[in-house]
Symmetry: C3
Subunit: 157 residues, 3 copies
């Protein structure tokens, strides 16, 4: 992905590959954390001063306390959420910082049980600090939140 | 992903990365195998003594013969299935064993042609035996199977 | 993924892993390019003589000019598209050529605002030429295009 790929050491190249794995884990952790309402998992993916920006009415959340509060805000809007994130790409600015992009589709359940289909792109900045990759910034570009649908989500049979 | 990452040899680190690729192939192979009704592809991802557990009424399948039978069971319930698996993470216990988690959304078609939306998480154990990564265990945590919807799945135009 | 994996040099093994990353970027770029109507991104993933084949009525597009035209064709059929690609696998024939398979679900918006759910598999050939991985061929196996649904895709709130 970088033009100087061949001049880098094997160590540097493996480090970038492992960084990609760590970043993919963050992306999955966002979905696991928010969908399973696992606040520890959710908080583990953000740096202390991270920005979590959701234009279009949901709000901007900056720093640990605010990002933690985002989950209360979202928890009031949606009874349940299910996110599936795909199409991930990452570009490394240097060994410790990368930008990324991924697309998600989600089923979000209103308090009355009806569902909305949601589509968005996550525009991310990842940083490695003290050896740990986390989100420095996530901007959620939402494309649509469908009108509520009467689709009963029954338990499995 | 492990704390001892820097003390491992390049060989060990590359081996883990290649193992991740092999595991990702298993996850894709599950969908390909069951959706395309390709029983050879489906069976190729399981160890002989693997456990395939689907709580909530579908059944538990242990070992090659039972896991093969699972596809007959599922084939009777659903005329067609389409699975999309995302949000995959894997944690290595050692070089030859890892646990994993991924989320799937599926469109499942009833014999009468109506569809259900299905959401689940796969909780996996992967093991490398004789040099080959396969599933030792998959537990399917299904969150919902939607009430049947009248959505006609027409051939492409 | 290959039987000779252990006899290859670390350099060769890392090169394949990096190639997989480049290929994953192509797959994401297809969705980003066509969904965001970013024609430069879309065109960047194809070799000059690539084949883009969509049986079932959409057409076959061969070479840069035709592949560029495909986006005009698709732009007339769909007002908007949203693709989520998962279940990717790749098999290397040699260091510079691989075949791949991935599954996508899409929401496609008709000019009248109704939506269709679309499911397909991409059957790909990737080639590295002059050091750059691109698609040499993509065959889109579409399974269904649902009857139009009255699902209003509202702006986020």
């Amino acid at each position: 992905m970088t033009s100087s790929i061949k001049s880098r050491s094997l160590e540097e190249r493996i480090d970038e590959i492992e960084s990609r794995t760590a970043i993919a884990d963050i992306i999955a952790g966002y979905c696991e954390g928010t969908d399973r309402r696992d606040i520890d998992r959710f908080m583990s993916i953000w740096h202390d001063d991270a920005e979590y920006l959701i234009p279009g009415g949901r709000g901007d959340f900056r720093g640990t306390a605010e990002i933690r509060r985002s989950q209360e805000v979202i928890g009031k809007v949606w009874k349940e959420t299910y996110h599936w994130t795909t199409n991930h790409t990452a570009r490394f600015e240097n060994a410790d910082r990368a930008t990324g992009r991924s697309d998600a589709i989600a089923v979000c359940v209103h308090p009355d049980g009806r569902i909305s289909w949601v589509a968005c792109t996550y525009h991310d900045i990842y940083e490695r600090r003290s050896g740990v990759w986390k989100l420095a910034r996530r901007l959620v570009e939402r494309y649509f939140v469908s009108a509520p649908q009467d689709v009963e989500l029954l338990p499995p049979f």
